[in-house]
Subunit: 341 residues, 2 copies
Amino acid sequence: MTRRVALLAHEGVPDRAKTAVGVLRYTDDEVVAVLDREIAEADPGARVADYIDGVPDAPIVGRAADAPAFDALVIGVAPIGGGFDESWRSDVRHALESGADVVAGLHYFLSEDEEFASLAAEHGGELWDVRRPPADLTVADGVARDLDAEIVLTVGTDCSTGKMTTTRELYEAAVERGVDAAFVPTGQTGIIIEDWGIPIDRTVSDFTAGAVERMCRERADHDYLFVEGQGSIVHPAYSAVTTGILHGAMPDSLVLCHEAGREAIHGYESFAIPDPGEVASLYESLAKPVAPTEVVAGALNTKALSERDAEDALARYRSQVGVPVADPIRDGAEPLLEAVL
Amino acid sequence: MTRRVALLAHEGVPDRAKTAVGVLRYTDDEVVAVLDREIAEADPGARVADYIDGVPDAPIVGRAADAPAFDALVIGVAPIGGGFDESWRSDVRHALESGADVVAGLHYFLSEDEEFASLAAEHGGELWDVRRPPADLTVADGVARDLDAEIVLTVGTDCSTGKMTTTRELYEAAVERGVDAAFVPTGQTGIIIEDWGIPIDRTVSDFTAGAVERMCRERADHDYLFVEGQGSIVHPAYSAVTTGILHGAMPDSLVLCHEAGREAIHGYESFAIPDPGEVASLYESLAKPVAPTEVVAGALNTKALSERDAEDALARYRSQVGVPVADPIRDGAEPLLEAVL
C-alpha cells in the first residue's frame, strides 16, 4: 500500500531542503503536501512544480494542519548542526495527534523528546529517528573486496555535489536495464527513500568502515551495489567519514561527483577544492593500499547553468578527470552507467 | 598528592597490555601492583622488572585482594572489541568495596554496570570511563592551521607501531629542553596518563576532526603541541579515525611510526603494508588539500631486534622515508625532536 507522506521543508524550498527534494524525486510513497510556511504565505496556492523541476507535483502548505490527510510526516530539512527547530513543534504535534508516523534525520532524536514520545504512544504513531545507528556495530573485518557483487561508490570533491542523486540515478538506470542491482544508502535521505540503511556520519568513528561493510554484506546477493558516498577526502571536517566509506566498501569502481563552478569547500570557503583530476587521483591513491580502484566516470551537477554553459562545463570536467562525464539529472545516468558496467 | 594505582593486566604482561605498559612508563602516579593472574600463578613473587624493561618496578599479583592498598584500579588491557571480561569482576568489586576509583578505557562502560555503579555510590569511589566522549562535540571549524602553536602529529603504517610512545617521548624530551609543550592524547592510555583528552575512536564519525581540533584549541597557548595519532590511513578498519585526526589537527609536521619487520596490517594479515616511504607520501598527499605538511622524522619500533639488527633496520627505514629516524625507546627521542623543532 502506498503511504501518504507530508514533507516538512520550512524556508527550505527549493534549494535548502536536500532531503525533501531527494524524497520527492525517488520515493515510492505519495507526497500529499510539502510544508514551507515562507512560500505558503508569500504565494498562496503554490505548487511544488512551480519551484522544483522533475519531481511529482504536490501543494505547498504552511503547516501540517493545512495538509491533506497523511500517514507520515517526514522532516525534509537538515539545519546546520542537525538540531530540532522548536518552530516545527506544532507540525510534529499535529502529525502525532492525527496518528501519523514522524520520520526525522536530525542529530536531535525525536524519540527522546518527552512530548513526542508520549503523543506517539497515545495515538499509535511511530517516531523513526533515521540517524540513530544500530547499537551492535563493530569494526570492519576487511572483507568487502571478497564479495561477489561489483561495488560502485560515488565520491565527491565536496559535500552536496550530487552523490546521493548520482547513486540513485545509476541504480535506477541499472534496474531499468535489467541489472540485478541494489542501492546502499549511507545518509538520511537515502535511508528514508530505501526504508533501510545505516547513517554513516553518526556511527562511532571506529565503526565507520565496519558499518559500510555490513551493509554491503547484507546486499551481497545482488550483482551490483551502488553505494552512496558522503563528504569528501579534501573536506576539513568530514573526510573521516569519506575515508571510512572508501575503505569499508572497497569499491570496484568510483564515480566522482562535482558541482560545476564550485571552487571552494561549501561553508569552509578558505579551503580551495583542487582540480577534480587531482581529487580523483587522491581517491585512487588512498584506496590503493586497501583495495585498488579507479574513477571510471564523472558526474557533474550543472543545475545552475544554461544548456550551453553546461556543455562547456562538462567538456572542461571531462578533460580534468579523463573519463566519461555527464550530469545525471540533465542527461540521465546512462552515459555514466555505460562506464561503470 | 601521588595517587597509588593498581594496574589490571591479566594474561597481558608483557606484550598484550599496551595501556598498562604505557601507564607504567609515563604516569606520575605510583603503581603499587600489576595484576596478572597467569604470571602470578606460574611465577610467584614475580616483579614487573622481570618482564618489562625501562619502567618503575612493582610486584605482580594475581588479584586485587593481594595488592597493597591503592587509590585507583586501572584496567590496563584492551581486549579486541573492547568488552568487559567477566573474570575481572571480582577485582573491580574488591577495588570499589575498598573505596578505590576504577578507571577503564573499554567500549563497555563500567558506569553503566548496575553492580559497579551501586558499589561506587555506596563506598565513595569513582568510575571513570575514559572512552566516553564529551556529549557536546561538534563538526570541525577548520581552524587548527591558524593556531599559533606548532602542531606535531604522529602517524603510523599500522596500529600499535608506537605512536603514543613516540608522541610522549617527543613531548618529554621537548619539556626537558625547556620548550613550552603540551601532549594531546587521543586514546585511552594517553588520556589516563594525562588525566585529560578525548577518545577519538569513540566520537561520532562526523565529529572526529572536530574533537581533535577542540583539543588543539584548548592547548593552543603552548608553543608546541604533540598530538597522538591513531591507526593508519592504510588500515582497512581504522583509517577513518586516522584521516579525521590528520585533517582536524592540521599539523605543521608529521612523524611516521613503523615497527621494524612488520609487513602486513596486524590482525588483517592479507593487507600488505606498503613501503613506509610510500605511506609517508600518501599522508602528505592526503593532508595537502586541507593543510600541507611533511613527514620530517621517522620513529622505528625495534624492540624485537638485537642491537645490530636494529641498526640495520634503522638504516633501511632511513633510506625508505628519507628523513632522520630513531627508535625513541632505544635511542631516546632527541634525534627525532631535532628534526621536529
